[in-house]
Symmetry: C2
Subunit: 214 residues, 2 copies
């Protein structure tokens, strides 16, 4: 029996949001990962520098075991995309886990899945979560296992979430084996990976970069 994981892609996705979890999950023989979207073919990332192939449509995957919904600027357009929101609502009825990374949680919230629940997203978009009745918290991974919902914070946090997901789906040894296979023994050169840890100089630079892009 294989566990079917789908990772939706869409124009202006953030690549690491999806590829981090993919790289963990695909290590497990019991798990199959499929990248899905509006139509088959290549979609480009948030800066246009990267194209990833969509291998199936939402409708071709109505009942995945696990959804990992990544983020990126493109989630703005999905928050009122009824085709995507309907797919999420229907698919969630039978998933083992419905999860998100970064602003992917804004789409789960727009589909009504996170109402009155704590959740996380990229630190810069926490207020947007409240628009659909969710309660944003500054945590890296937020679990509601009774509701089969897990949300992860910005971009790289999907790696941490995916390891936990393997523990839940298979076992702890599988998760630790995946961690060793991707040699995930992080040694970040700085300690500025959370808003609470970064000083004004860093935040100012982030704002400058964000303005440059938009």
């Amino acid at each position: 029996m294989s566990i079917n994981v789908v990772i939706p892609l869409f124009p202006n996705f953030t690549a690491l949001d999806g590829i981090g979890p993919y790289e963990v999950l695909q290590r497990i023989p019991e798990i199959d990962v499929t990248f899905i979207g509006h139509e088959r073919g290549v979609v480009r990332s948030d800066n246009g520098m990267l194209g990833i192939e969509v291998d199936g449509t939402f409708e071709e995957h109505p009942t995945p075991d696990v959804i990992v919904f990544p983020g990126g600027h493109g989630t703005n357009a999905l928050m009122d995309d009824q085709r995507v929101l309907d797919w999420i609502r229907n698919a969630h009825q039978t998933t083992t886990f419905t999860t998100s990374v970064c602003t992917g949680s804004l789409v789960l919230a727009a589909a009504g899945l996170l109402k009155d629940l704590t959740a996380t997203t990229h630190w810069s978009t926490r207020p947007t979560l409240t628009e659909n009745g969710s309660v944003p918290v500054a945590e890296r991974v937020v679990e509601h296992l009774d509701q089969r919902l897990i949300t992860a914070a910005g971009v790289s946090s999907g790696i941490d979430m995916a390891l936990r997901l393997v523990e839940l789906l298979v076992d702890s040894t599988a998760a630790q084996a995946a961690q060793l296979m991707i040699e995930y023994d992080p040694q970040p050169p700085f300690d500025t990976g959370a808003l609470e840890k970064a000083d004004d100089t860093i935040v100012t630079r982030v704002i400058e970069y964000a303005q440059h892009r938009s």
Copy 2:
């Protein structure tokens, strides 16, 4: 003036090796990232579950500022691919930095770049580095700045390396801003991300999974 980074792709690449550094580097307005390969079009990852588009050929990018060479099972075929090895040797003459993630260093070594130098790779392939005269070490990122060479260990280590690369190419504030943008405040659920930290049960499972794949 933009800094041109190229990330080679090839059949059976490991996605996170390339996408980790891409996600860090593309945050910096001064940096452009291009995925290159033998020919334009989609190539599939080591398990076939993911396709990424090659946007230019090796020959179309003869003088990149930075090379980030990812790994994956596909590097076996590249270690005697004269087209790729010639490209590396020529391009390295004018790069600011020539770098690798995971088994990408085996290709740099095969091109003769790592002779008599310490270097790193995925923990499972350290002995292979010696075949081309390199000296494998169990470190996450190995720098030879005087030779403009940096190698990173398995898969996820490319994120740490790329942050260091931004510090070298731009400045420390840029690197810290990139770290905050990708919310890289790692909280791995286990401490088994290095061979030296994993017990026999974990290593046995990794071997089992590797046999399943091959």
